[in-house]
Symmetry: C2
Subunit: 350 residues, 2 copies
């Protein structure tokens, strides 16, 4: 769901990729992204594609052929990270956990000490499971072997604290449509000075041109033509970031957490059990287990057809086992929660 | 410039990447793209990025490492094609011409017979020079050595005849914002059955994931999740294609040509000389030479500040030597031409 002010911004006059007005909007957008990422990274910019293009920007620029790339694998998007690493010709090693569990510092440290990767990657908030990874558990381990740490913040950015600088993340990417509540199509991206130094010493040429971070920096900072930016998407992202700034970052995080807790309470009252252990749950993607004797498809169908509410099911190893209930942006409010719980009660009992 | 109906379409409710309504719009969009491309290619779809992402989709999928890639080089975007080919590890060979000239069949055939490339690439309408390449001159030569032919139709699609099937193009890509007059951010793409057969026999793995054509086809045709499509851009592209269909393709081409000819007549009356020879000019990008004693920057500044009209200058070897006057989509009409000529007369004389 997108706020009316954001939809309105989409319709503003389109300008060219080198128009001074565009760079004004771009600079303001980048500054607001530094705020939500919690970073002072100069290389904070917008990749011209969806969240997956941000993921590929991270992997294609920083993971070199024949280097070792360690992936913390506990859900769907970790597999995508592994796949992209393999396509770069890297030696991909994985620490596996069941979908829905997270990694503690000790096991992360033991893994990276053994493997000594050049780069590690993990998913902060894994939308396929509802599990929230403690960032420091991984970045601290990575730093001990001097590996760069890539964090997927596709689901978390704008809905909960990421804190790139404080948490020691080297590279993070996200999408425009989840916690930031803008239309999809752009990927906010940030890289630390340490990561950019490492990029300078890259030994092999980049296969990618569209997602080449050096060319993208030359465009944003050097005003050197690269691609024809989609100004409507930029205007909308800028407006959604302004809304976040107006609400206040901490207020926004608190609102997501408060409504998440109310939703969990309500689900537990209905007799459901959460798939992810307390303390490791993503506030904006809630994943109760499907109760015994209940068919998830039937419940979702009734919710959609009778109540006009769309929730997702589990997939992969969690197919048929969990519901995935998004609660973010403008929808993370008390009346949405109680409306949903009423409808859900009806749907699981009929 | 974008029609009000297109801007309005941007604001329609956003749906998810696997929503049946999205695939309804996507299927209709793909069918309309087949119409403007002039093709029955099943693999006609939309790449989730700008025109340059379409270019990289063509090169990254079809140009293999160590294979020979022949580029017809007579402008800015041919250099970009060469650069992308080199990044794939291909042996790039180029037939060079001064910016503004085009290739005849005989020289194209002589070149490809000598080089025997696996793939050739050329730019149909080169926006940096105003020159229009005869497509058959190149596709006929390519076919003689069984090479695949990639056509850059970024500037031409929707404004003039491309005719993919009749002209024997194997792979073509474009952008959403020029001849199609939608906002930028998407890249229409088409590949022939012959090209897709060739892709199946590819020997080396793809480095690219976001632009992997097989994954994109699995998404569009197999409804298998790949990326989160930007529905606002899709709605707008669909609406702009409907406008083109309503006008009629031939009517639209005629309108562009008629107004191009009127503009050229007017420019010649003012004493200017066109940079590109008659018969090889792009109707929607007009490139008169900057007359002796006239400073192009001054003219463009006065046009913008006094008349609110933006035209582009030359760059690369044509910097300061030509003006580049866009005349496309809703702007290709009689009153725009006469308004422009009046303003331009004032600007070059003051």
């Amino acid at each position: 769901m997108v706020e009316p002010r954001v939809t309105e911004a989409l319709g503003k006059p389109i300008v060219g990729p080198l128009d001074p007005y565009f760079f004004e909007v771009a600079d303001a957008t980048r500054e607001l992204l530094r705020l939500v990422f919690g970073t002072r990274n100069e290389t904070t910019l917008v990749i011209p594609g969806t969240g997956s293009s941000g993921m590929e920007t991270a992997v294609a620029n920083f993971v070199e052929p024949d280097s070792k790339f360690a992936v913390f694998a506990n859900g769907y998007f970790c597999d995508r990270l592994s796949e992209m690493g393999a396509r770069q010709g890297a030696r991909v090693v994985r620490l596996e956990k069941p979908w829905g569990e997270v990694f503690a510092y000790e096991e992360a440290a033991e893994f990276v000490r053994r493997e000594k990767p050049a780069v590690v990657a993990f998913v902060h908030a894994e939308t396929s499971t509802g599990a929230l990874q403690d960032i420091r558990a991984i970045t601290k381990a990575a730093r001990e072997v001097d590996a760069l740490a890539i964090a997927d913040t596709v689901t978390s950015l704008g809905a909960l604290q990421v804190g790139v600088d404080e948490a020691g993340i080297d590279i993070a990417y996200s999408c425009s449509q989840k916690g930031l509540s803008a239309p999809p199509g752009l990927s906010p991206f940030t890289a630390s000075p340490r990561a950019m130094e490492r990029l300078k010493t890259r030994k092999t040429p980049m296969h990618h041109w569209y997602l080449d971070l050096k060319l993208l920096r030359d465009y944003y900072d050097g005003r050197k033509y690269h691609h024809t930016v989609s100004t409507p998407l930029f205007y909308a992202l800028h407006e959604s970031l302004r809304l976040i700034q107006e609400e206040g970052l901490q207020n926004r995080f608190d609102r997501h957490l408060r409504n998440h807790l109310a939703l969990v309470r309500g689900l537990e009252t209905l007799g459901l059990e959460m798939h992810v252990a307390e303390g490791h749950r993503i506030p904006n993607v809630n994943t109760p287990r499907v109760p015994g004797g209940v068919e998830d498809v039937k419940v979702r169908k009734r919710l959609l057809e009778k109540h006009g509410i769309e929730i997702a099911g589990g997939f992969g190893p969690l197919a048929g086992k969990i519901f995935r209930i998004g609660l973010m942006g403008p929808l993370a409010n008390e009346s949405s929660v109680s409306l949903f719980l009423d409808a859900f009660r009806d749907a699981i009992r009929n």
